[in-house]
Amino acid sequence: MRPFRYERPATAARAVAAAGGEAHFLAGGTTMVDLMKLDVMRPERLLDITQLEDGRYDFIDWDGKSLRIGALTAMATLADDDEVRRRVPMLSDALWLAASPQIRKAARIGGNVLQRTRCAYFRDTSYAQCNKREPGSGCAALDGGVTRGHAVLGTSSACIATYPGDFAQSLIALDAVVEILGKDGPRAVRFAELHRQPHSRPDIETTLEEGDLIVAFSIPDADFPRSRYLKVRDRESYAYALASTAGALRMDGDVVADIRIALGGVATVPWRAREAEEMLKGSSISEDGLERAAEAAFAGASTTEDNAYKVDLGKRTMVRTFLELARMEG
């Protein structure tokens, strides 16, 4: 690991002022320290934001139907919150099904949404080719690599790395808003606009600007008791998604009044399946209808020999999620 300066800014404003360039925030460190050991991330200064003294950044506040969660809330705290479990289970599910109990105690939800891909060629600097690590160097995955875990949606000829996180799928499905403190003061952006598809610059993963600190996520309309996060993976627990669905449903009698679909494990960024949502809105839930919608959700898929299975797996995961939600008491 390269040497770096460790600092504990006293306030969020000071953290933001100090950040930028090779000065990065440190939350739980479960992405940062891991990738520093691998020499993939090379900060010169780490700004520990877990000990800010100017206020609490770990909170879970309901105000009517809106929910606000501090960015430094630990994954485990949110996963175990009783009211969140009852009112919007997909948020809790996406967290307790992720990583391990120890990691969930350390990791914070702000760092969680910014976790980096698990593409083996990104993580291993002995591969010279990786456009995400070294812009313009090529892509070892596309150039004959093993791509079983790679993405089929939102890919480009420069990078097909999967966005590995679970929680972000629930946030994007719930129309969450990201509250940011930046060098020019506070602002808010839609969560759907936080991540960038790779296009020709896979190294630029988000729309955040230098020094931007995520302080909270807010969800204006968060009451979705009929929601869940279904995750399919190689082993039963402690593994990343091969395919997952964050699904939420509101019924008006037999008719779908509101439906939210986000797909994990299959795309380069948190992925909202809006076409599929439009097809299902206003009709009743049927297996046929769901299959047609899933078809539409994956219509733009681009596959390799290794990851072609993800199209079927992704569709089935989506269909099963909503068949199960339809059977739930609403």
Partner: protein
């Protein structure tokens, strides 16, 4: 988790060497200030940074001067000679390094020692004593919940926290909430039995 441990080991060790060598060459003997001020080198690289910390480990305040890169695991094992916490993967994937920080289970391999300052750290050495085993240690012995024993300190620290968190309600829940601790010897059924036995001991 598609990369092989061998490859990861190789990469991380090489990375450490790089930093270590560069750091040693430019470290002035006096660079032992709280947060060594880092005037950058002529070539732009950051010199090695040392920092004085006080870590609260097993109820004792331990004063140390550490390289900011040190993980809590390395400080426990190398500086404090507490070798009960094990290094399995060094990347958050196996749980062998599990300790308690403020009573919660955490991975010491992904925790910078600097970040642990100001928090109560308990390792397997601080859980029980040879004459008075913690109920979980006794349960692991009673249930033969290990073979080689390498994962065991991590399993025990994790299991104690699992019960405290209220995540040991059924066999299935124990398996899910102990999934962050891998056992190469696959002592899993016996580990579940040990957790159940200790649960009645800890709660009763």
């Amino acid at each position: 988790m598609s990369e092989t441990p061998d490859r990861m080991d190789f990469v991380s060790r090489r990375g450490l060497m790089k930093g270590g060598v560069a750091g040693a060459a430019i470290l002035p003997a006096s660079a032992r200030a709280q947060t060594a001020s880092s005037s950058e080198d002529a070539d732009g690289t950051v010199p090695l940074q040392r920092m004085n910390v006080t870590l609260d480990v097993n109820g004792q305040a331990r004063q140390l001067t550490i390289d900011t890169r040190s993980t809590l695991l390395d400080v426990l094992r190398h500086d404090l000679d507490l070798t009960g916490s094990k290094k399995g993967c060094d990347h958050g994937q196996c749980g062998a390094c599990t300790v308690h920080i403020d009573g919660e289970r955490r991975l010491s391999c992904l925790t910078l020692a600097a970040q642990a300052e100001g928090h109560e750290i308990v390792t397997i050495e601080g859980l029980g004593s040879e004459n008075a085993l913690h109920p979980m240690q006794q349960a692991f012995v009673d249930n033969d919940a290990f073979q080689c024993g390498y994962c065991t300190p991590g399993q025990i620290m994790s299991a104690v926290a699992c019960i405290r968190e209220g995540h040991a309600g059924s066999d299935a829940e124990i398996r899910e909430y102990m999934s962050g601790n891998l056992c190469r010897c696959a002592a899993y059924p016996n580990i579940v039995a040990a957790v159940k036995q200790a649960k009645s001991g800890m709660e009763g």
